[in-house]
């Protein structure tokens, strides 16, 4: 009987310690996994409304973005609040070379700007909080493909070039709320002084997403432009504001919003916007993101 009790005692102790060890192993594994895993979808797509987010689809993903901007709502019902007015459209094709590097090409209708761009995640926010924010660098070079008539009497090919560099910092605060901020530099190689244009502008960006229900969210974006060299500017650019709703699935993102940005090129929007959202210069638009 004593042997039996001893056997039971040894078995229970062995069983207890073996289980305890497994639990420790599981805990260690979980801690390690959580520590290394980036936060899940801080934003639905790689573009919030007009400007990029810190999101890069997984390595090998191909992505098609369709940006569409209707006309101004000021003409009222005569053109269904801009829906039947002349619109602007941009097609973007992106490919993720790595989980942290995306390259792409865009073509825009109004100013016929052909863009090549790249986005690199320097830091990615982790679930454990060891890295509290995501930091991305975005770089874009655009070539205007309109006729030489638009570039003046001393035309050079390099005059068609425009550049855009942006630093983006984002944080997913909770399952519902993600915010981003950033700074950008926009440059035109050639501008018309007669029109009061400037070569360089700096932009400060703020944006965010707040989930309302399931994968449907409220999104907003605000951009404030500054001149690099303080000087009198004939038509200083106005700040940009956009707000709308985002609907997401695993392979699609759909954003519908109101904005005062007519153009679909960041340099054009930051440097030359003359419309003011809060004075009623509003345009409706939508973005469709398709991931393959």
């Amino acid at each position: 009987m004593k042997r039996f009790i001893l056997f039971i005692a040894v078995f229970v102790i062995f069983y207890y310690f073996s289980n305890a060890q497994e639990e420790v192993k599981t805990e260690e594994t979980t801690v390690t996994d959580v520590k290394d895993k980036p936060v899940k979808s801080p934003f639905e797509t790689s573009v919030l409304i007009d400007f990029p987010t810190t999101v890069i689809p997984s390595k090998g993903s191909f992505q098609l973005l369709i940006h569409h901007r209707f006309g101004t709502i000021n003409n009222g019902i005569s053109d269904i609040y801009g829906i039947y007015a002349p619109s602007n459209i941009k097609m973007t094709f992106d490919y993720s070379l790595f989980d942290f590097l995306q390259v792409g090409f865009s073509s825009e209708k109004n100013n016929k700007i052909q863009e090549i761009h790249g986005k690199l995640n320097v830091l990615t926010q982790t679930r454990s909080g060891s890295i509290p924010v995501s930091v991305s660098l975005y770089s874009m070079a655009g070539i205007g493909a309109r006729s030489e008539d638009f570039y003046g009497k001393t035309y050079k090919f390099i005059n068609r070039l425009s550049l855009f560099e942006q630093l983006i910092i984002s944080r997913k605060f909770s399952e519902r709320l993600s915010l981003l901020t950033g700074a950008s530099w926009s440059h035109y190689n050639a501008v018309s002084y007669d029109k009061g244009e400037k070569h360089d502008h700096v932009g400060i960006h703020v944006g965010g997403r707040c989930k309302i229900w399931s994968e449907n969210s409220f999104i907003f974006e605000y951009t404030y432009p500054f001149k690099i060299v303080p000087s009198e500017e004939l038509n200083p650019p106005k700040p940009g504001f956009s707000a709308g709703l985002e609907f997401g699935t695993s392979t699609h993102g759909f954003q519908v919003f109101a904005s005062n940005y007519q153009e679909l090129n960041p340099v054009q929007n930051i440097s030359r916007t003359q419309s003011d959202f809060f004075k009623g210069d509003i345009l409706l638009g939508f973005n469709i993101t398709i991931r393959f």
Partner: protein
């Protein structure tokens, strides 16, 4: 992590190269001689024919204004697209030159200047 660091350095290097390769040129356009009379039929109407009254846009029954040869002049006046007191404030001119307007990039600066000079000269139906 090392790969990411290397790519970050390369990315920054490309950004720096782009930054240092910037140019600062000025675009200057040929100006229309203000002493030369601009004719609506010969100078302005061809712009409308090439850019505006094409299929689905500013034709009879389409768009905010009809810019076909038969109706363009009357419609421009009836719908207040011309401001003779402040030519540069004319709706016809502003919609072509204002960035952010729905017609930006659709006409060349030379065409815009031609339209402005025509309005400055009294916007005659000549």
């Amino acid at each position: 992590m090392l790969t990411r660091l290397l790519f970050t350095l390369c990315f920054l290097l490309i950004c720096m190269m782009m930054f240092t390769s910037c140019e600062y040129d000025i675009i200057e356009f040929e100006k229309v001689d203000p002493t030369v009379e601009i004719k609506f039929s010969n100078d302005i109407m061809p712009i409308f024919n090439n850019k505006c009254n094409v299929s689905g846009c500013h034709t009879v029954g389409h768009g905010v204004i009809d810019l076909t040869a038969a109706n363009a002049y009357n419609q421009l006046n009836a719908k207040n697209f011309i401001d003779l007191d402040y030519p540069a404030e004319s709706r016809l001119y502003k919609i072509l030159v204002n960035v952010g307007s729905s017609h930006t990039g659709r006409s060349t600066p030379a065409e815009q200047d031609l339209i402005l000079q025509w309005i400055k000269q009294g916007a005659k139906n000549n």
